[in-house]
Amino acid sequence: MDEFEPKIVGFFCNWCSYTGADLAGTSRIKYPPNVRVIRVMCSGRVDERLILKAFALGADGVLVSGCHPGDCHYQKGNLSARRRVTGLKPFLEAIGIGKDRLRLEWISASEGPKVAETVKSFTQTIKGLGPSVFNRRRNEH
């Protein structure tokens, strides 16, 4: 059987992380193609619903990335994201999705290499965890 290639949904903030990912691209840094990036205006836009919907639609992992604390274009949007991600983890654990399938990272516009590192290490983590329960269930039927 082919090696499991996880599907990762990345919610990247327009001002820092998305630009950081752009920099990774223009700098020709290689990183795994497993991440599907969705540009949001702020990591604070990513509420529980978006993350849960991503899992329900087949994401094996969800990566939320925003500006470092203090750098948010909207002052405190990234802090909201931090609270939500922290708060959502116990729920993911409790219903069996697993808290390690959700990750938050701070990546600034100048941190192209960090985008690559983050995606690489998260892809490895998810490969270790295997397909998400939603996907396994779907494949059984």
């Binding site: 529980e48 619903r49 849960l52 919907k53 329900a56 470092h68 604390p69 203090g70 405190k76 802090l79 909201s80 931090r82 609270r83 939500r84 991600v85 922290t86 708060g87 959502l88 116990p90 729920f91 654990e93 409790a94 219903i95 069996g96 999705i97 697993g98 990750r103 938050l104 990272e105 701070w106 329960v133 269930r137």
Partner: protein, 404 residues
């Protein structure tokens, strides 16, 4: 002032006869109406004298207050939601409300969400060690106590014993834990509840710390409550004495014992959910959620759910219309939207026609979040829900995890 304690007794003969522990609560409610401090009293009354059908009533005539005297253990009316939906959150009406600790917490959470005007309320807290579901209570009285539910005139929970008094005067007593292990006894959320004395109300009234059955122990919990009690004493509506240090110690010990018992129940109930493996948990909850008939009962009963335009409605793009069981987004969004502020009132689980263990899951998550965010729901109006708020101090916190 706040922190004062009294042993109180009603001065009204009629109330003393009907009330259970000195009638102080009934007298205070009546005084609140008479003195014009409030426009109405919101309390619980046995509908048509049926102890298993406690309903909220809005009273504006002082003479009618006595109809609400006496404690009803086999009822769990949704006072906070009633206040919000039918009295417009007390926006233009001053109301004295009798509240159990969970009711008080729910009212405070709704105040934070600007759905209830707390300034217009006088919260008369009632100490509570649990309520029973009416239907189960009737079955229990028949099978365990071998009595006719219609003959019961009073119930009492004390020192982990459930006592019922029948109209012929006889009393029957059973060990509460034994009953609960057989699936009777208090509602599941009540077993787990650590708040017996509603110190978030204006005053907290109970029987702990009193030596005879004709007195009420009152703890003053706010300045509003303090003013009110002083006026009631001056007007001669209640007679008070200072509790002895022994009495205060008794209250503390009984409270601690009840809290300890609640923690044991929490441990036991939560272990049933956490000791499964990740896959087992997913299978368990998928099976549970697949029984959901999308009646929206949990949402409509929950005191934390307050949105006028609910995202779970069919036209909002998250839950497809016309599907039963609903998409998994339905339970997931509902749970995650209220988990940070759950007051463990148990209403969601009470109303669920499919008897999903909703309150068990939501309260378990709430305990975990309470630890992470150092937040206790329903205690303080100035503390905002942790998943809907951030503080300036967090700007200097660089980690990706919240560590408060």
């Amino acid at each position: 002032m706040k922190g004062d304690m009294y042993i109180a007794r009603s001065s009204d003969k009629e109330i003393l006869e009907k009330a259970e522990y000195g009638g102080a609560v009934t007298s205070l409610l009546k005084f609140a109406l008479e003195s014009g401090r409030v426009d109405a009293v919101l309390a619980i009354k046995a509908r048509d004298g049926n102890r298993y059908d406690g309903v909220p009533v809005l009273i504006t005539e002082p003479e009618e207050v006595i109809e609400t005297a006496g404690a009803l253990h086999c009822a769990s009316p949704n006072i906070s939601r009633f206040l919000k939906e039918y009295l417009d959150g007390a926006s233009d009406l001053k109301v004295a409300v009798t509240v159990k600790p969970c009711d008080a917490k729910a009212i405070i959470e709704l105040t934070k969400r600007i759905q209830i005007n707390l300034d217009n309320l006088l919260l008369i807290g009632l100490n509570c060690t649990g309520t029973l579901s009416p239907t189960k209570a009737k079955t229990m009285i028949k099978t365990e106590f071998e009595a006719d539910p219609a003959d019961v005139v009073a119930e009492d929970i004390e020192d982990n014993k459930l006592t019922i008094r029948l109209k012929d005067g006889t009393e029957k007593e059973k060990d509460l834990t034994e009953l609960e292990e057989r699936g009777y006894g208090r509602r599941e959320n009540c077993r787990r509840c650590e708040t017996n004395i509603p110190i978030m109300a204006d005053i907290a009234c109970g029987k702990w710390g009193t030596t005879d059955k004709n007195k009420t122990f009152i703890e003053v919990c706010s300045e509003k409550g303090s003013d009110f009690i002083k006026e009631a004493i001056e007007a001669g509506k209640i007679k008070v004495e200072q509790p002895s240090s022994d009495a205060i110690e008794t209250v503390r010990k009984k409270d601690e014992a009840a809290i300890e018992l609640a923690r044991q129940w929490q441990e036991k109930d939560f272990a049933s959910l956490t000791e499964m493996s990740g896959d087992e948990r997913f299978n368990y909850w998928s099976t549970q959620f697949s029984r959901c008939i999308k009646c929206y009962g949990c949402r409509d009963a929950c005191p934390i759910c307050y949105c006028k335009d609910c995202v779970l409605e069919a036209d909002r793009g998250f839950v497809p219309p016309g599907e039963v069981p609903p998409d998994t987004m339905f339970p997931m969004v509902r749970i995650t939207h209220v988990m940070d502020s759950c007051v463990n009132c148990g209403q969601c689980q009470d109303v669920c026609p499919m008897e999903l263990p909703l309150s068990r899951l939501i309260f378990m998550l709430n305990r975990e979040l309470a630890g992470i965010f150092k937040y206790e729901p329903g205690m303080d109006v100035s503390e905002l829900p942790p998943l809907r708020t951030v503080t300036d101090q967090e700007l200097s916190l660089s980690s990706v995890e919240v560590a408060l």
